[in-house]
Amino acid sequence: MPSTPDNDLYELVRTAIDSAALVEHVRAEQDGAIVTFDGFVRNESHGRATKHLEYEAYEPMALAKMREIGAQLHEDFAIHRLAMVHRLGRLEIGETSVFIAVSAPHRGAAFDACRFAIDTLKRTVPIWKKEYFQDGAVWAEGEVPPAAPEAKSAS
């Protein structure tokens, strides 16, 4: 059965992520498995106690990059549907910052695709995290996105 990328869901939100609704969104009778990734705020960073985090994004580009990841998933893995949501703004310890759900007829593709999705998101989607501690704040180290693989030339 061909995948239906039309029903994939990509969002940047500023309120709590409803993960149960996302799981429901990707669930269909033709599927036999859903794999999810729930990324949430840890209470420490490199041994320092975290107070809270703040995320910001280059929003239209971030959504475009998230959609690209989805398109890649449909190309490379036998999955059915995908939901990928990232939260922005201030997040407290334990709150979900990113949630990904992937459905597929069989579990292998769902596991592989979900792993690929979060790994690629962390490398290529223009979102930034600032970590607040008792005694100050720092921008997370981060990853340098791969230089334009197929950069279109200007003329």
Binding site: E56, W139, G142
Partner: protein, 88 residues
Amino acid sequence: MPSVSSSIRVKLLFFGRVRELTGLSEEEVEVRAGTTLADLLERYMRRYPQLAGLRASLVVSRNQEFAEWDTRIADGDEIAFLPPVSGG
């Protein structure tokens, strides 16, 4: 051969560390036709020397797509110098 040296207008966006170090979140600038993204970065490096430490880790986007530094800027482009990303 074009005999008029024309100038073009572009919009720059600033995020994360770059936004904090420059105090800018967006700005419209005029550049000479033929200017590359690297030339534009040079201009901001001179204006904001505090960006120097970030330089090696910056990538650049043009119209919401990662771009090569030697890309020539076109009128109306939306450009951003992006620090290392840390979503997730």
